[in-house]
């Protein structure tokens, strides 16, 4: 495996080189100051498939994450300033050469055995394989992000997806999905999610990994500097993208209403 340290990455088409050197799975890991868990996360990532490349997008890190990434055998993309939430996914996806792209976070160690389920689902024909985790919903008032995810799926006519979303990791997508969605949209995951459904890609839930329970540190951050407004905004941006692609009622008929009667 090569190490790439790049300040600025240019758009690369998928290289069609020697099939033996081309990975089957690309695992994309955005990193910002996640020294504590990074080594383990990369190790698990390499285990998902014999032909796997791990792409680590280090951005705005000052805690030595970069050194850990470099020594791990992963492909490393380095940005000295923070890219912002989920932008690393787009940057990583641009570099990916695999048939299947698996997205995970650096602050949460998920065993390879579980990650394999997502890779397997895409290998079996799913285009977008989602973590079947809807968040805590057994209460009267749920978290704003949980609400947004459910509402978006409902609006897109996919209530079966519950509160699952490309916002949550882990999820895997096919090469076909990547070419339909484009890499940029991956930075605003609900947008990519909406596009995938709208473009008729096969979007399915795979297995449930309780990311809330796995990461108490994230819960703490959520209390101090909540991502809720950002992610709610992402869902609205997604809805707006969809509204531009559809008629005034999103393709849903008006029932028997005779509006012209009221003027």
């Amino acid at each position: 495996m090569r190490n790439i340290v790049a300040k600025k990455v240019t758009e690369l088409p998928r290289p069609n080189g020697d099939p033996w050197s081309v990975p089957y799975v690309s695992v994309i890991v955005p990193v910002m100051n996640e020294r504590r868990t990074l080594r383990k996360v990369i190790r698990e990532a390499f285990r998902v498939h014999p032909h796997t490349e791990v792409i680590v997008v280090v951005n705005g890190s000052t805690d030595g994450s970069l050194d850990i990434a470099k020594k791990s055998g992963a492909k490393v993309l380095f940005y000295d300033r923070p890219l912002g939430h989920d932008v690393g996914r787009s940057i990583g996806a641009r570099e990916a050469r695999g048939n299947i792209l698996l997205f995970i976070d650096a602050d949460m160690v998920i065993p390879a055995a579980k990650l394999k389920a997502f890779v397997h689902a895409v290998a079996q024909g799913t285009d977008v394989a989602l973590n079947d985790y809807s968040g805590p919903v057994n209460k009267t008032v749920v978290h704003g992000v949980v609400l947004a995810k459910h509402a978006l799926n409902e609006l897109l006519g996919r209530p079966d997806l519950g509160g699952t979303s490309m916002t949550a990791i882990p999820h895997a997508i096919s090469r076909k999905a990547l070419s339909v969605l484009g890499t940029s949209a991956l930075s605003v995951p609900p947008m990519a999610h909406t596009m995938a459904i709208r473009e008729g890609l096969k979007v399915e839930r795979v297995i449930s990994i309780n990311v809330g329970q796995l990461n108490p540190i994230r819960a703490k951050r959520e209390r101090n500097n909540s991502l809720e407004p950002l992610i709610v905004g992402d869902h609205l941006e997604a809805i707006q993208w969809w509204l531009r692609k559809t008629d005034s009622r999103g393709g849903y008929e008006d029932g028997a209403r005779q509006r012209w009667m009221v003027r």
Partner: protein, 367 residues
């Protein structure tokens, strides 16, 4: 003898009312405020006793006066009018407390009926402005009759009844009532459209919209009128007590809840103009326009966007949660329209801006 029995009856009634109200207030406000609630209720019962005796003497005076009429609608008119005056002439602090003033109104009305010797179901609410109700009749005759019975108990200037292909019996029911305006449509019409049409037929300052197929107690409806009497522009039905856990809620409730959250009114929870009953002020009607009411979810979003004062009018049982308004596709389309309206006014992310992502790092932002 008769007098004695009546007054015993009265105290029993208001006592019961007091108990149930106090119970609710303790439950909702929590233990800390319990002593306050207790003190208030003592004051309440004292002042409502004065209201009762005032009612008795007003009732006697009315019976022996020149305006006396044996028709019950005249009795109702007299009580509403006299009570409104009395209430406005006694401006005390607790007058802003709904439970207190409802209790006072009950006592006064009971007294008035005792004094006049005539009785009718009535919900006294002192309104400063003229109020009207709009109801779009469904196919259920008995339900319409029950709905009209409840509306009659309120101080309404007029009741607009929208009848589309009614049965003869329904038509005569509507005709036989006092103060009604009947809109007779030749063909069946969607209830939202019917109500929107009905709202154009009244010039009242407060307009109450009720379900024609599901009667709600007049005492509950009264509060919707009261909060729209200069306090709010839009008074919604509060369904949050009946909504249960998120997981088990109907899909369309996600739309209502997320629409509120996305317009920064998460406090409204699942409540929306698409649930009956609701009341609006003249200002709200003029701002939104009758046409807007044909798509309630859009009207709801518009009301928030236009800065109208939106709050809750009370808790009434609604057919929405019981699943009869279950047309998912219509609800989805309505909310698409609502969000389109909001995004036209406030941009694609509304107030939830993205200031952290470095989108230029992506080069050309596709689409």
């Amino acid at each position: 003898m008769k007098k004695k029995r009546l007054s015993a009856n009265r105290s029993l009634r208001s006592g019961r009312l007091l108990k149930s109200r106090a119970f609710h207030s303790i439950k909702r406000r929590g233990k800390l405020q319990r002593p306050v609630a207790k003190r208030l209720s003592r004051n309440r019962s004292r002042s409502s006793r004065y209201d009762h005796s005032a009612g008795v003497s007003d009732g006697r005076a009315w019976r022996s006066g020149a305006t006396y009429d044996t028709r019950v609608e005249k009795l109702r008119e007299a009580i509403h009018d006299k009570w409104r005056r009395r209430f406005l002439e006694t401006p005390i602090k607790q007058n802003e407390d709904w439970k207190f003033l409802q209790l006072r109104g009950k006592s006064y009305a009971a007294g008035f009926m005792q004094g006049s010797g005539m009785h009718t179901p009535l919900s006294a609410v002192p309104l400063r402005h003229k109020a009207a109700a709009v109801v779009c009749a469904g196919s259920n005759e008995a339900a319409l009759q029950a709905v009209l019975n409840e509306l009659e108990a309120l101080p309404l200037h007029e009741i607009v009844i929208v009848l589309a292909t009614p049965t003869d019996w329904m038509y005569s029911q509507a005709r036989s009532r006092h103060n009604t305006v009947i809109a007779h449509l030749p063909a069946a019409v969607d209830a939202d459209v019917g109500r929107a049409l009905g709202s154009k037929l009244t010039g009242a300052d407060i307009v109450l919209f009720v379900d024609g197929e599901h009667a709600v107690n007049a005492d509950i409806l009264a509060r919707f009128l009261w909060v729209c009497d200069g306090r709010l522009d839009v008074a919604l039905n509060d369904l949050s007590g009946q909504m249960g856990v998120f997981q088990k809620r109907a899909g369309v409730e996600r739309f209502h809840e997320f629409l509120n959250a996305s317009l920064d009114r998460g406090d409204l929870k699942i409540n929306s103009l698409s649930s009956l009953p609701f009341a609006v002020s003249r200002h709200a009607l003029d701002t939104l326009g009758a046409t807007a009411l044909t798509v309630p979810a859009k009207a709801h979003a518009l009301a928030i966007l236009k800065g109208l004062r939106i709050g809750l009018g009370g808790m009434a049982d609604s057919r929405r949660l019981n699943g009869s308004r279950g047309d998912w596709r219509v609800a989805a389309g309505d909310h698409v329209e609502a969000w389109r309206e909001a995004m036209t006014a406030r941009g694609s992310r509304l107030q939830f801006t993205d200031s952290t992502r470095n989108r230029t790092a992506l080069g050309d932002w596709e689409r």
